[in-house]
Amino acid sequence: MLWLFALIAGVLFGLYYGLAALGLNLIFGVMRMVNLAHGDVIMLGGFAAVLLFDHFGVNPLITVLLVIPPSLLVGYLTYYLLGRRVQRSRDPEMMSLVMFFGVSQVIEAVAVIAFGNNEASITSAVFGTRPFSIAGQGVPGAWLVSAGVGLVALVLLFLYLYRTSLGRATRAIMSSPDEARAVGVNPDRISALTFGIGVGLAAIAGILSLFMIGGTTPSEGVDLTVTAFAVIVLGGLGSPMGTFLGGIVFGLALMFTQTYAPVWSGFAPFAILLVIMLLRPTGLLGRTVRSV
């Protein structure tokens, strides 16, 4: 039953990839900025978990909660210090690439100084070494924990976006920033909050990446940003639900190729991305192409 395991693994990894990409899409949707430092934030989340575990024995699941307040704060301040300036420039999309590329480089360089150039991780044993049985397949506990955290984050985000006034205002800005301002929404406040949430989601994904992709290292940020970007394009820019769908498609593509043609497994998810882009340029759940 190789296919059944690939299916289960694909969905579980998909939830992880969805979580890892969610913040990038949220920030893009609200601010039209591509946060090229997204992967570096994921990396920092991973190191936070490693350091807290190594020095204080903090369980990574506790770290998931611990990183939320500082992430919100850092994201909030980053928006007011950098993001707002970028948005007010002539060409915010391009400026955001340049600015956050720089931020990404700085984070990586500082991380090298702080943590060294090495791969770091937490032993998988913290989530047990006895796999759980799902549909007769032995699935590592760490995967279930990661996917579970991803699902909880997704549900909370959706409750926020669809059930609260701030969340509705966030979606209103994603729909049309001018229209949102015209009904009295303060876009700076919503943007700063969204930036904080995006940073927090990335940091949480970073903690889980220790168990899903084995570890973290200061130089991995760029690759993670690329993967996250592929996932959000796949699912549709500006569509949080699409991001999870994109993550699952990405995860399934990876796990099925690992099972049936391992040597192509690095390439297949991106091949699927290309095919979907050709068939449906807006991504799986993307709306009509915007002309902003």
């Binding site: 006034s165 509705r168 205002a169 979606r171 209103a172 994603m174 729909s175 049309s176 001018d178 229209e179 949102a180 301002r181 015209a182 009904v183 009295g184 929404v185 303060n186 709306r287």
Partner: protein
């Protein structure tokens, strides 16, 4: 100064534009409390720009804007909205939100109970909106969109309702519907009304008319005065034969 307070809006010497392009020049406009005014002008005349400057979506480069005697040209959009100006843009709605959520956004920042009450009231006033209330806004027809847009703008119970080309993209039947709906709000002792338009139909709700051309004020007066002006009549009524 009762005279001042009677005036809903007083715009003096307003200028605005985009980057190095100035679009609106030295524009004057007055609206009395509960008065309704139409600004007519051809495509590209600067009508939308005028409204954006009024709302603060574009900064005013010159001039002043007074709203019930209070200078507002330095305020943020959200503050102007809270002061009582509601605006329907050319798009008018959030297509990605449901109709209900559009109405909720129209009253963004209002206390929850009051917001609910206002939405119920407006659904009474606009049965067409009530019918589509649960659905997504992107599914609405052009006419329904404008209705929802007007209703959304009215949720906050504004003192001035500003509409950007409510007739754009509508069939003549729908234009009449929108005009009728606007007339309905007028009967309820509604807000002062500022409509920018290319379409003569809206003169039906107008007490006074302004004409804007090339970003400058070309004419101001009553509808009969406009009809009496030969060149303007040819420009604005001549084409409207049918």
């Amino acid at each position: 100064m009762p005279d001042q307070v009677d005036k809903c809006l007083e715009v003096r010497g307003l200028g605005a534009g985009y980057g190095s392009l100035q679009v609106l020049w030295d524009f004057d406009l007055e609206i009395g409390a509960e008065e309704s005014v139409v600004v007519l002008g051809p495509n590209g005349a600067g009508k939308s720009t005028l409204l954006k400057a009024l709302l603060g979506l574009l900064p005013a480069r010159t001039g002043s804007i007074s709203f019930f005697g209070r200078r507002i040209e330095g305020l943020r959009t959200s503050q102007r909205v809270r002061a009582g100006i509601a605006y329907m843009s050319e798009v008018g709605i959030f297509p990605e939100l449901s109709v209900e959520e559009n109405l909720l956004m129209g009253g963004y920042g209002l206390p929850r109970a009051r917001l609910r009450r206002r939405i119920e009231e407006l659904c009474q006033l606009f049965p067409e909106v009530a019918r589509t209330r649960r659905g997504p806004a992107w599914k609405l027809s052009g006419g329904q969109r404008k209705m929802v847009g007007v209703a959304k703008a009215l949720v906050a119970d504004p003192r001035l309702l500003v509409l950007d080309e409510p007739s754009a993209g509508l069939s003549p039947v729908y234009v009449s519907n929108v005009v009728e709906a606007l007339a309905r709000t007028r009967r309820e002792a509604g807000p002062a009304l500022l409509v920018v338009e290319q379409n003569m139909k809206f003169l039906a709700v107008a007490q006074r008319v302004y004409v804007i051309e090339g970003g400058r004020l070309r004419f101001q007066g009553t509808v009969p005065e406009l009809e009496a002006d030969d060149s303007l009549r040819r420009a604005y009524f001549g084409l409207q034969g049918a």
